[in-house]
C-alpha cells in the first residue's frame, strides 16, 4: 500500500529538499487518498474473508460446543487451550509438522535454485518449454498427486518396490518411510513454485556485476556465492517465507497417504480431526487458532528476524 509513486530513496530526498518533514504536500496527500481509494475495496474484502473467520474461530474456541448438540453449548474460557497444550498429541503433531516443514523447504530451496538456474540460463527459445515442463507438478491438485505417489509406493499396485528390489517393504507401515514419501510428494509438487520465485530473483541480478566479476577472474562458483546469491537475498527469503507458511499447513498428502496413522498427523490434520470428524467445534477452533498463531510467529520471525523486506522482492528497491 505505497502512498506515493516515488521510490523510497527519492521520497527521502524530496522530503529533505522541501524541509517539511512531518507535514505532507497537497500532492502527497492527494496521492495517499488515491492510494487508499484504490486499495480500500481490496482491503475491505480481505478483512471480510480473512479477519471474520479468524475472529469467529477465536470466539468459538472459548466454548464447549459440539455441532450435534448446540443446546448444551457453554462458555469455558481457555479450557480448550489448556486441554490442547497439555496433550502430548499436540506437541507430537507440532514436531511432525516442523520436521516436514524443515526437510521439504530445505530440499526444495536447493532443487528450486538449481531449476531456476537452468531456466535462467536456458536459450530463449527453450525457456518457455522448460518453464512449462517444470511447472507441471505445481499445476496438479495436491490430492491427485498424493494419490499418484501413494499408488507408486503401495505394495499391491506400486512400482517403486520392484524397481528398488525392496520386496514386501511397506512404505506406509511405520513412521519414517511414511514421512519420507509424504516429504517426497511435497517436494515434487512445490519445488516449481520456489524455483519460479527464485527465477524472478535471478533476473534482478545485474548482468554488469556478473561481467565485472568475470573480468576480475572470478570462477562460476565464486560468482554464484559472491555476486548472484547476495544480490537475490530478498527473493530467497521471500520464497522461503511463502513456502514455510505453505509447508506448515500440510494436510492433503497426510490425509490421503496415511490418514494420520503411524504418528504422521500434522497440526492441520489435528484441527480437521477435532472439528470435522469429532464435531467439537470449540476444541477444533482452538487448534486452528493455535495453528494461526504459529503461522504469525513464523512470519514475524522471518520479517523481523531475517529482515525480509517484501517490497524489495517486488523490485521496488
Amino acid at each position: 500500500m505505497s502512498s506515493t509513486t516515488l521510490a523510497p530513496g527519492e521520497q527521502e530526498r524530496a522530503r529533505t529538499a522541501s524541509g517539511r518533514r512531518p507535514g505532507l504536500t497537497d500532492r502527497a496527500k492527494a496521492e495517499r487518498r488515491l492510494g487508499w481509494m484504490l486499495a480500500g475495496p481490496a482491503f475491505a474484502v480481505m478483512l471480510l474473508v480473512t479477519a471474520y473467520p479468524i475472529l469467529q474461530a477465536v470466539y468459538e474456541s472459548l466454548f464447549d460446543f459440539r455441532l450435534t448438540d448446540p443446546d448444551n453449548r457453554s462458555f469455558t474460557g481457555l479450557t480448550n487451550y489448556w486441554v490442547i497444550l497439555t496433550d502430548w498429541i499436540w506437541w507430537r503433531s507440532l514436531l511432525v509438522t516442523l520436521l516436514i516443514t524443515v526437510v521439504t523447504v530445505a530440499v526444495e530451496l536447493v532443487l528450486g535454485f538449481g531449476l531456476a538456474l537452468v531456466m535462467h540460463r536456458a536459450l530463449t527459445t527453450l525457456r518457455p518449454i522448460i518453464r512449462t515442463a517444470i511447472l507441471i507438478p505445481y499445476a496438479i491438485i495436491t490430492v491427485v498427486s498424493a494419490f499418484a505417489w501413494q499408488y507408486a509406493f503401495a505394495l499391491d499396485t506400486g512400482f517403486v518396490n520392484p524397481w528398488l528390489n525392496l520386496g514386501a517393504f511397506n512404505w506406509f507401515g511405520s513412521f519414517s518411510p511414511s514421512i519420507v514419501v509424504i516429504c517426497l510428494s511435497e517436494i515434487w509438487k512445490t519445488t516449481p513454485f520456489i524455483s519460479l520465485l527464485l527465477l524472478a530473483g535471478l533476473a534482478q541480478v545485474s548482468e554488469d556485476l556478473q561481467e565485472a566479476a568475470k573480468v576480475d577472474g572470478a570462477t562460476w562458483w565464486e560468482r554464484l556465492r559472491k555476486v548472484t546469491i547476495p544480490n537475490m537475498k530478498a527473493a530467497i527469503m521471500v520464497a522461503l517465507l511463502f513456502r514455510t507458511l505453505d509447508a506448515f499447513r500440510v494436510f492433503d498428502n497426510i490425509f490421503i497417504m496415511t490418514n494420520g496413522a503411524n504418528g504422521t498427523e500434522s497440526v492441520s490434520f489435528l484441527a480437521y480431526r477435532q472439528t470435522i470428524s469429532r464435531l467439537e467445534i470449540g476444541l477444533g477452533s482452538a487448534v486452528s487458532v493455535l495453528l494461526f498463531l504459529c503461522v504469525v510467529l513464523i512470519s514475524a520471525l522471518f520479517i523481523k528476524g531475517f529482515k525480509v523486506d517484501l517490497s524489495q522482492a517486488r523490485g521496488e528497491k
Binding site: 450435534t68 486441554v83 498429541i89 496413522a261 503411524n262 480431526r273 477435532q274 469429532r278 464435531l279
Partner: protein, 438 residues
C-alpha cells in the same frame, strides 16, 4: 469525445450486469421448473454398483408420477459419508429426504434430531421378518429410527484345498488359534484388516464380542458417565488373540495398511488362503474370472464358514454392517420419503440388490429366494452369521470410540493385552470428558 468514451465505458459493465442477471433468472426459473412438477425426493446414497439408483428408478415408476426419487452420491469412506451428512443436517438441510446410513452412526443422528420420526405402525411393518442384528442396528433408545435396508456381515473365507491339506475341519466352529496354526503350517496368510480405519474397529469389535465382551457397556449414558467393558478380562483375551494374529507368520505383508480390498486381492492371488471379509468378495471373484485374472477352478476352491471363534465352545459374534435408511428431519416431504423408504426395502428390491450388487438382505425371507440362493450359495451361512452378529458400540459418541480404538490398536503388531485395552478405556473416557485430543 471524452464524454462519449466514458459513457461507452460505463455502459459495458451494465451490459455485463444484465447478462449476469439474465443468467441468474434463468437458473432461478429452472429451479422453479423442477419444483412445479411432482415432488422430487433426494436420496443420499453410498457408492455401490448402481443398485440403489436402479431401485430409485423402480420405486419412482411404481408411484405413477406422484413423486420422483433422485440419488446423490456420498463419499466412499463411511466416515466421510457421516461427515458430509452431519454438516448438512446441522445446517438444517431440507434437500436430504432419504439417506443411506451406516448403522454405527445412527445413534448420533437420532440423538441430534437429524432423523424424522418413524410412526409406530410403520416401524412394526419395516422390522417384521428382519434379521435381529439389523433391527438392533436401526433402533435407538428402544425406538426404530431408521428403516433396515440391507445387512452385512463378515464370513471366514478359505481355500478348500489348503484347509484340507492342513487337516482343518471347517464344517463346525473354528478358533483363531486353529486358523493361525493351519496357516503357519501351510505357509500361507490370514487376510485380516489392519489399516487405521473403520475396518480396524470392525475387527477389534468382532474379536472382543467373540470373546464374550462388550466395548461400551452403557452406550446411552451421558458421555462422562459411560461405562466401558473393553478393559475387562474378555477385552484382554481379545487383545491376546489379535496379538497372536499380528505377530504370527500368518499375518502376511502390509497388515498395517490392509483394507478389505487389499485382503480380497491377497485372497484372489492365493497369497492368503484364509480371510475374514464381507460377502462382496464372492461377486468380486466372479468378476475376476470374467476378466481372466482368476481361474474358475480357483473360484470353485472358495469355501466359507462362520466367523472364527476366540475360544472353542464360545460361539463367535461376527461383525454387523450394512445400510439402513434414515428420513431427513428437515425434509419437506417426510411422508413421501417414508413411503419411498418402504418401497426401497421391499423383499423384491432387497433380493435384486443382493443378487446384482452382492449386498445381503435385511429380510430373512430373501435368503430363501431361489435366485439369491443360486447367485450366493453361501446365503444361508450369511443369514446364520447375521443372526449371531454383534453391532459395534451403539452410542452417539461412536466416532470418539472408534477413533480411539484405531489410535490405540494400530499397528496391530503393537497390541499388548496388559496395556492396550486399559489404555483404550482411559483415552475413551478422557475424550468423552473432553479432556483429551483425538
Amino acid at each position: 469525445m471524452a464524454s462519449q468514451s466514458r459513457s461507452v465505458r460505463a455502459r459495458r459493465p451494465r451490459a455485463w450486469a444484465g447478462l449476469v442477471a439474465a443468467a441468474l433468472l434463468a437458473t432461478g426459473l429452472a429451479a422453479c421448473g423442477t419444483e412445479s412438477g411432482p415432488p422430487t425426493l433426494s436420496w443420499y446414497i453410498n457408492p455401490d454398483s448402481g443398485g440403489q439408483a436402479e431401485i430409485a428408478g423402480r420405486c419412482t415408476a411404481a408411484t405413477q408420477g406422484r413423486y420422483r426419487i433422485e440419488t446423490t452420491l456420498l463419499p466412499r469412506e463411511a466416515s466421510a459419508q457421516r461427515e458430509q451428512l452431519v454438516r448438512r443436517l446441522a445446517a438444517n438441510d431440507s434437500s436430504i429426504d432419504l439417506m443411506s446410513l451406516d448403522p454405527p452412526f445412527i445413534p448420533e443422528f437420532a440423538e441430534a434430531g437429524f432423523l424424522a420420526e418413524i410412526p409406530e405402525d410403520v416401524a412394526t411393518e419395516v422390522t417384521d421378518g428382519v434379521v435381529e442384528s439389523a433391527v438392533q442396528g436401526s433402533t435407538w433408545e428402544g425406538r426404530v429410527v431408521t428403516v433396515p435396508f440391507w445387512a452385512n456381515t463378515q464370513l471366514l473365507w478359505y481355500r478348500k484345498s489348503v484347509a484340507q491339506a492342513a487337516g482343518l475341519d471347517l464344517s463346525g466352529p473354528v478358533t483363531w488359534d486353529q486358523l493361525i496354526e493351519a496357516a503357519t503350517a501351510q505357509n500361507t496368510t490370514i487376510a485380516a484388516q489392519g489399516i487405521r480405519a473403520e475396518a480396524l474397529t470392525v475387527l477389534v469389535n468382532a474379536v472382543v464380542a467373540s470373546a464374550g465382551g462388550t466395548i461400551v457397556l452403557t452406550p446411552d449414558a451421558p458421555p462422562d458417565e459411560v461405562e466401558l467393558g473393553i478393559d475387562d478380562a474378555r477385552g484382554r483375551r481379545a487383545a491376546e488373540v489379535i496379538q497372536n494374529i499380528a505377530n504370527s507368520a500368518a499375518a502376511g505383508p502390509a497388515l498395517n495398511t490392509r483394507n478389505e480390498d487389499a485382503s480380497a486381492t491377497l485372497f484372489e492371488q492365493g497369497a492368503a488362503a484364509f480371510m475374514v471379509n464381507w460377502p462382496f468378495v464372492f461377486p468380486r471373484g466372479q468378476g475376476a474370472v470374467e476378466d481372466g485374472t482368476l481361474t474358475q477352478s480357483a473360484l470353485d476352491d472358495y469355501g466359507w464358514a462362520l466367523y472364527p471363534a476366540v475360544d472353542a465352545g464360545t460361539p463367535s459374534a461376527p461383525p454387523y454392517g450394512g445400510i439402513n435408511l434414515g428420513i431427513g428431519a428437515f425434509s419437506e416431504h417426510p411422508d413421501l420419503a417414508l413411503e419411498a423408504a418402504q418401497c426401497i426395502v421391499s423383499a423384491e428390491n432387497q433380493a435384486y440388490y443382493f443378487v446384482t450388487n452382492g449386498n445381503p438382505a435385511a429380510l430373512e425371507s430373501v435368503y430363501d429366494d431361489q435366485e439369491v440362493v443360486q447367485a450366493f450359495p453361501m446365503a444361508s451361512t450369511i443369514r446364520e452369521s447375521l443372526r449371531r452378529a454383534a453391532p459395534r458400540p451403539q452410542t452417539p459418541y461412536y466416532n470418539e470410540v472408534s477413533s480411539t480404538i484405531q489410535r490405540t490398536w494400530h499397528p496391530l503388531g503393537s497390541v499388548n493385552p496388559a496395556t492396550t485395552p486399559a489404555r483404550t478405556a482411559d483415552i475413551i473416557r478422557a475424550v468423552l470428558r473432553k479432556e483429551d485430543l483425538l
